[in-house]
Amino acid sequence: MLNIKHTLLNITVGSFLLLGISGCAGKNQEHFIGKERVVLKEHRSFQEGKFLKVAATFENEDDTEVEGMVYQVEWLDSHGIVVDQTAWKPFTIIGKQQIHVVDMANRPDVTDYRIVISTPNK
């Protein structure tokens, strides 16, 4: 009984640790408009001097369908207020293709970001 308790405790602590390690790159930093025909495979941010830099990877998981998309990065300050955003950037992604993008804020007060993805109606 004691062993089971220990195992459960370990699993719980381990899960919390894993959550902690995975950081804050969560769903609140992604926002899809329209159908999610393109996948935001991963995204992460790091500090480049005084500015926040974001690297993201988009993928078209479909084999045959060519997808068009636009994305925009919204830059947030420490209060969670959008202080700037990039232009909407268009891409055409063929089947199974991955596209890597890097964007950097040009204001030093930017501390967080949100990637907004939009795919046009077909």
């Binding site: 001097g49 636009v70 909407w88 950037k89 964007d103 040009n106 030093p108 795919t119 046009p120």
Partner: protein
Amino acid sequence: MTTLTKLSLATTLLLSSFLMSGCATGGAGMVGASSNVKYGDAKAAETVTADFGSSDLQSTAEALTQSLLETRYIAKAQQPPKVRLRAVNNLTYEHIDTKAITDKIRIKLLKSGQVRFLADTANLNQVNAERDLTTTATTKTKMKAMTDSDYIITGNVRSIKKANDDVKDVYYNVSMELVDPQSGEILWADEKEIRKVTSKSSVGW
């Protein structure tokens, strides 16, 4: 009151309210809300034609500003360097307001707080006129000397166009460089490439 009378009264009220409202439908703070003119997202990706457009201007300015801010001459500078924008040459066959590109870059760089800008050569006449006015029309007889630029920014916009009966392909290349005016050394250079394809048979995405 009969049902018929009630109905005619309701119809009259409805018609009169419609007539009084006229054609200028809309709410407070709106004029001509029923017209075909709509405000759109200024940062939206625009694909009306393959010519150099607002999206190209914005993406070019963003990419080159990002690259400039990463260069050690700006990122690692002890003091924000003083920069003067020089002309960006339009070497394409279409009209492109290249000053719009450099102005946008300047706004972004100024917001970063990493760079200071001196008046453009095009605006120097205005600055000199103001200085003359200050020394002649006010009690101030001496002006401090104008400051030198640490760096200048120049560049070129080029395009290659190819077309057949079905496809039109346009390639834009916007290149810029940061030059030390004392030594003439090019300290940084980068480019933004844009490809736009128009297909007659295509129905878009």
